[in-house]
């Protein structure tokens, strides 16, 4: 028999947990849900847009009643749990009925805090918390003129804005002298006040309320300083308190909230709790992103996978008032150990402040133009070292060379037909519709439903902004540390660490040790694990071809019509008449449809069938041509110019240097594709400054450049150092490639890797530390001793036959 799970609270946190449970195991529990409100589950953070008339209740429902039916969940709506018998493991409902549980989830959320002023219990004094409150406000607006909102925080200002939209005259009373002082500094607070006042909102602060006066129904509000404000409705929006009444009553340990550990378990092991009612590591949360992170962890433990931990959340806030953009995150006040970067353009109404410590973003406040909020937030959560782009950081991500997308960063003004995801042809309208219709709240969901940002990923920032713009600022951002895929909770770095420390020498051993939650991983994690194990233990021969993407398994590039391309290596971009003849002969013999010169200075043959590949390779081998690894996360090409052998400007023999680099590095597998170039002079014809490792020859020696790439997002290299001899170039090249191989995440090119760890880090390990450079280079050469076998030759001679031949030919 299935175990029984009872959920107290039909809100976002409780239902998100149920959804996460169903994702993991639909058979784990008989689920019963009790909700005090007479509705299905709705998106509470969107109540403000409902009040403002921008959205309807239907639009903010997450799970309608049919959803509960479809998922075999018993929903008791409009019913309140009055007691829990923890010994007998049952809950007692206000109608007297009793229900048994094996596990109990308390998700009672929070209650608005009502200041016990004289007159707080008059008719017309309400909070802003649920659909009922919104209905009352909309009702009041039909018959009344003047509203007072007590509280100039996020919720209060959203309520005030909504009431104005409904046609009321609104006065906001705020105790402090800065609006939203928990999210804003005084400069941004003043700008916000100005724009709200321009819209007709009256704001009094500091303003302390003395009493609410009325005969049965509220009539006016009296301040401590004697001022009186007429009011036919008073909204108290001064804060929320975790709703712990029930938990406290039945003796579950509570402080400010219900105290839970990192698995969301309360002090009663059978009782879990998530959402605004919990207190975790001393913190309580009132935003939606943390709730989703808690839900995920809680579900993981309820279905007894037992591997997720909730370690607290970093949160950000946006105000959901149409036309006013503000964003805040983290510690935006700072202290003596922090620095402030400030950008202010009063006439445009733009203000940005970043608080940095040790060149890492600790907090941000933005007003007026918040399109880069999610970027700053990412920098903050990932603790990215920003020293390399510090001087530009205040101007936003588009000023870092986001080629092709920079101008489009004005999401709100984009036309619905504007293409967001160029890979999959997804427009802004497609994404917004899908977010609305499918009630999407996370980037992952948008990717699954629309495919936007699921291919090359260059539009991820735009999609995140669209999501934030469409569902409001509290959309769920990815957890602080992203797991490698859904098969595990562990991050790339954790997995690499475990492979190293625990001598995990195969994919299987790694999955077992790290307790993978799928039997054999997925197409995302298996190639990564295969690489990580192989990189750490090159001598172990662990390579698993079934865990490689088809191109690397077949040593050729699959094309859209399921044929393949063949690209032999041309060392340093050079070739010979014999090689060209062999290529021409193969092209003739196999009736190759397209012969194309690649950007990496070699020749590609397109349209070969898989069965033909081994023969083609055999014939190319005879002329001395070997695999160019144009299909792999591997060393691709070393582009060169003709250097001082021919060129009147050449300063060094860049051609021979390129050949030597390629001879040293070919066959090496890397986290992502890896390209090099050597230019003979600063005119840089080989385009060495957009390569992963580029050499620019100068009269005095060689400039070494790292971390560049063309492609999706062009990034110009950083100058690593200048060296005197070609031997040094080779040593640095080997060491740099090895540190990248050992430390970058799978599918992370050198450009984003360097942006993540910082150029200073790379310099410290490669340039400043000579011994470490030599050790890295030695490890690279050791790995190469196992890697430099031409894969084409082996297969031309009959290896891996099953990969290239069909199993059976059936005749018609």
């Amino acid at each position: 028999m299935k175990e029984k799970l009872i959920v107290i609270g039909n809100g976002m946190a409780g239902m998100r947990t149920v959804e996460e449970i169903l994702k993991l195991d639909t058979e784990a529990y008989d689920i019963t849900v009790f909700g005090a409100e007479p509705y299905g589950n709705y998106n509470r953070i969107m109540l403000s847009p409902v009040l403002a008339g921008d959205k309807t209740i239907e639009e903010i429902m997450i799970n309608d009643e049919q959803w509960y039916v479809d998922n075999d969940i018993t929903l008791h709506k409009g019913k309140t749990i009055v007691d829990i018998d923890r010994k007998a493991r049952k809950v007692i409902v206000d109608d007297g009925s009793e229900h048994e549980y094996d596990r109990l989830l308390i998700a009672t959320g929070s209650n608005p805090f009502i200041i016990p002023l004289p007159g707080h219990d008059l008719d017309g004094v309400i909070a802003f918390r649920d659909i009922n409150d919104v209905d009352m406000m909309i009702d009041a607006a039909k018959n009344h003129q003047h509203a007072v909102v007590i509280g100039g925080g996020l919720l209060g200002l959203e309520a005030a804005n909504g009431l104005m939209q409904q046609g009321m005259k609104v006065t906001v009373l705020h105790l402090m002298d800065t609006l939203m002082e928990r999210q804003m500094d005084s400069v941004a607070g003043k700008m916000l006040r100005k724009s709200l006042e321009e819209r007709g909102m009256e704001i009094l602060m500091p303003a302390s309320t003395k009493e609410i006066v009325g005969d049965g129904h509220v009539e006016k509000v009296v301040l401590e300083d004697g001022r009186e404000i007429e009011a036919s409705i008073v909204v108290m929006a001064v804060g929320i308190r975790p709703n712990i009444e029930l938990a406290e009553k039945v003796g579950i340990h509570c402080e400010r909230g219900i105290v839970v550990n990192d698995t969301m378990q309360t002090f009663d092991p059978r009782v879990y709790s998530v959402g605004e009612c919990v207190q975790h590591r001393g913190e309580t949360y009132g935003l939606v992103a943390p709730l989703f992170e808690m839900a995920k962890v809680c579900a993981n433990h309820l279905v007894q996978h037992g591997i997720a931990l909730y370690e607290g959340s970093v949160t950000s806030t946006k105000l959901k008032v149409t036309g006013i953009d503000l964003f805040s995150a983290g510690d935006f006040t700072g202290d003596e150990d922090t620095e402030e970067l400030v950008f202010q353009d009063a006439s445009r109404g733009v203000y940005r402040k970043l608080v940095l410590a040790d060149n890492k973003v600790k907090g941000a406040v933005m007003y007026g133009d918040t399109i880069d909020g999610s970027w700053y937030f990412d920098l903050m959560r990932d603790e990215t070292d920003v020293s390399d782009f510090r001087e530009k950081i205040l101007f936003g991500q588009s000023h870092l060379g986001d080629s092709g997308h920079g101008d489009e960063n004005r999401i709100a003004m984009m036309a619905d037909t504007a293409e967001i995801c160029g890979c999959n042809g997804i427009s802004k309208g497609d994404i917004v519709n899908s977010i609305n219709i499918n009630k999407l709240l996370t980037l992952e969901e948008v990717r699954a439903h629309t495919k936007a940002s699921s291919s090359c990923g260059s539009c991820t920032g735009l999609v995140e902004s669209l999501l934030a713009h469409t569902v409001g600022g509290d959309y769920s951002v990815a957890p602080h540390l992203k797991p490698i895929c859904a098969c595990t909770e562990h991050t790339h770095d954790e997995i690499r660490g475990a492979i190293k420390t625990n001598e995990l020498k195969s994919i299987r051993a790694t999955m077992d040790f790290m307790e993978w939650n799928t039997p054999d991983g997925c197409s995302k994690c298996r190639p990564a694990l295969n690489y990580y194990v192989m990189c750490q233990y090159p001598e172990a021969g662990s390579d698993d071809s079934q865990s490689r993407f088809i191109n690397e398994r077949a040593h050729a590039n699959i094309q859209k019509d399921a044929t393949y391309s063949v690209i032999p290596r041309m060392w340093g971009g050079g070739t010979t008449p014999t090689e060209l003849r062999a290529i021409a002969d193969v092209a003739d013999k196999y009736e190759v449809k397209t012969v194309h010169v690649t950007g990496g200075q070699r020749i590609a043959l397109y349209g070969l069938t898989k069965q033909e590949l081994p023969q083609v390779w055999g014939e190319l081998n005879e002329a001395g041509l070997v695999s160019g690894h144009a299909y792999g996360k591997a060393l691709r090409t070393v582009k060169t110019c003709v250097g001082k052998e021919w060129c009147r400007f050449g300063t060094q023999d860049s051609t021979q240097l390129g050949i030597d680099l390629e001879k040293m590095t070919w066959g090496s597998w890397t986290p992502h594709k890896y390209k090099m170039a050597a230019s003979g002079c600063p005119r840089n014809c080989a385009e060495a400054t957009i390569k992963d490792f580029g050499v620019v020859c100068v009269d005095s020696g060689y400039e070494l450049h790292v971390g560049g790439n063309g492609g999706i997002k062009v990034r110009v290299t950083d100058l690593l150092c200048t060296v005197k001899t070609a031997d040094e170039v080779l040593e640095y090249a080997a060491a740099f490639m090895q540190i990248y191989r050992e430390e970058a995440h799978y599918l992370e090119r050198t450009a984003p890797w360097i942006e993540r760890v910082g150029l200073a880090y790379v310099k410290e390990h490669i340039v400043d530390d000579k011994d470490n450079r030599k050790v890295l280079a030695a490890r690279f050469h050791f790995a190469q001793s196992f890697a430099q076998d031409d894969p084409w030759e082996a297969r031309a001679k009959g290896a891996e036959k099953h990969e290239f031949e069909s199993m059976k030919q059936l005749n018609a």
């Binding site: 699921s454 039997p519 054999d520 190639p527 993407f549 088809i550 399921a562 059936l810």
Partner: protein, 113 residues
Amino acid sequence: MSNEWIEVGNLNDIPQLGARVVNAPDGDIAVFRTADDSVFALRDECPHKQGPLSQGIVHGDRVTCPLHDWKINLDSGSAVAPDVGCAASYPIKMDGEIIFLSLTPNEDCPNHD
């Protein structure tokens, strides 16, 4: 040959978590082998853009298409939600390690002829 069982090979012809192709008169059929040695057959065409499913990475009871990462259930041929589509699936019969295939597709793939 509608309901005939055709011998197409031995279990060990297919690598675990891999696939092989059977060239049938009406088009290629991909024959998959999972980690627990279950064998499945699907038309070798992804419902999305006709990518060759036989070339994908097999994981659990699914295969990921090599062209655009659609995930296809090996038993039914249906795409994993939220993608929608279906590759025809074919009955497989095992006699010990010998694999038999029927060329009459299962009928649970409504949008495929």
